[in-house]
């Protein structure tokens, strides 16, 4: 249909060019995140919420001593309980929102700035740019979870001390072992968070609108929560994304109960793989006509 032909005069298209790869795209996506407010908004919230939570414990600890959720009665006995409680409640909307802030924006912001046409006409293939962005969004989510967990451990220990922890089976584990379990829990928590990242990437790619993608990702996450509490839909519970946010609790049983973790892995893959695959194909095949 259309061709542009070089008529000899100077040699064209023969110079070998060393090609950048996914690592280059990933590095620069991380660099760009450093200059965006939403990055600091998300990571700041991840750090601030545990601090506010500990402050609340400080002013209420005389009235504490009970509650209707796991670990509630141990909040004032060991600071290591604080990150676990944050994980428990953060699953409702906080961590999905923090994750969506970047995952939902990372492609849509290129549309907003009209910069896709700029980067797609360099020497990186589209799949490399996609991989770099996906990895950067995932890295940010990992950073948010671990910053939140670490701040919670420090703030909780300052308030309640770095003491042994009682597991969900009733056994007591030492503080160092408890710390290890906290960080293992954070790792397991990344399984459903990774799925939220994939959903965010999908909506970011499809909607090409940052606000729509961020809100949409959060709405999907809340929808799973809603389905989980609707009467008569209990059988769906084990297969909902929201349920997988509790998989880490298997680590706090003696012996460790791996079944919720294994289920979280394949249930989350069931949601994440189609979302990521669709986002990938949409990005690979889309026309860049705007901007």
């Amino acid at each position: 249909m259309s061709a542009i032909e070089a008529v000899p005069g100077r040699r064209l298209g023969t110079k070998p060019r060393s090609r950048p790869g996914v690592a280059t795209a990933y590095r620069w996506e991380l660099f760009k995140l450093r200059y965006q407010k939403r990055t600091y908004l998300g990571l700041g919230a991840a750090a601030l919420v545990p601090i506010l939570f500990v402050v609340a414990i400080h002013f209420r600890h005389h009235r504490a001593g009970g509650g209707d959720f796991a670990f509630a009665s141990y909040l004032t006995k060991s600071g290591l309980v604080v990150p676990l409680v944050i994980l428990l409640f953060g699953a409702v909307w906080m961590f999905p929102l923090i994750t969506a802030l970047v995952a939902g924006d990372i492609f849509a912001s290129e549309d907003h700035n009209g910069t896709l046409k700029t980067v797609l006409t360099r020497s990186l293939e589209r799949w490399q740019i996609f991989a770099g962005k996906g990895l950067a969004a995932a890295t940010y989510a990992v950073a948010a979870i671990f910053i939140s967990g670490t701040v919670a451990v420090i703030a909780g220990s300052l308030e309640s001390g770095f003491h042994s922890v009682q597991t969900l089976s009733g056994s007591i584990v030492s503080a160092p072992k408890g710390l290890e379990l906290v960080y293992l829990s954070l790792l397991v928590y990344l399984i459903p968070i990774g799925t939220v990242v994939c959903i965010g990437l999908l909506l970011s790619t499809i909607t090409r609108n940052s606000a729509a993608a961020v809100v949409g990702t959060l709405m999907i996450s809340l929808l799973f929560q809603l389905i989980g509490i609707l009467p008569g839909l209990g059988a769906l519970g084990p297969y909902l994304l929201s349920t997988q946010f509790n998989a880490w609790q298997g680590l706090l049983r003696q012996p460790i109960d791996w079944s919720p973790i294994v289920r979280a892995a394949w249930v989350c893959a069931m949601y994440a793989v189609p979302a990521l695959g669709t986002a990938f194909l949409v990005f690979l095949r889309r026309d860049v006509a705007g901007g």
Partner: protein
Amino acid sequence: MDLTVHAGDVYGYLGPNGAGKTTCLRMMLGLIRPTAGTVRLFGRDPLQTVAALDDVAGFVEAPTFYPYLSGRRNLELLSAFDGGDASDRIDQALETVELTDRARDKIGGYSHGMRQRIGIAAALLRDPKLLLLDEPATGLDPAGMRDMRLLIRRLADDGMTVLLSSHLLAEVEELCNRVAIVRTGKIVYEGAIADLKRSAGATYRLSTTDDERAMAVCRAQPAVTDVRVVHGKISFTADEPAVAELSQALIEAGALIKSLAPQTVTLEDLFFSLTEGDGVVNGSVPAPVEVAQ
């Protein structure tokens, strides 16, 4: 549609709005897929691999950058995406577009003209043999347009091949040696501007003491064509010997010549004739497009 751009050309790519110029450039750069057919750039399909864009750089419509990064940071990012020794050319590219002093400012604060220039700097990082520029002077003030023309001229003088899509016909006429004129997705002329003007023939404007009689004399001359009245004067096309014979005939007919002046055919005249008329330029049909392969 085949475009043949010779090395060293400054090649104008012209057409009215909706003719498909920008769409064609987007396809060449692999940004959009053709609904039918294929695109080849130097024989390679840019949709298959971005390697097809080696030795090619440019921008479609306004160049775009990350507004929260400085000009230099944007160039560093793009040079990293280019690979090779592109990063070594950042300083030189900034110097070429005269933005060294503003390189550390965020692009969000750049004027339109500065963005256009940093767009060219970004293209120069790739050390391209072919530079694709889509309306580079659009939205610029007269000084900015002049600077852009000088910049393109300088790049061309340095041996770079430039494909310039533009609405500004005077700019194309000044900068380009060859043009393609496109209408509704098809090329209606491709070749040297000088050849196009030659094909249009020489046009003259005539004023006499008796224009009615002069019109009749003109029409009676077999070598004088396209006789009509334009702005109260007789306009016709003819070569120099025919004009000499016409002068003699007018005197013999008693229509004394008050003025007889050759008219310069502008690219604009030819453009409108090709894109709005029937493709006939002042009686001469441009040669069909022959594309070297």
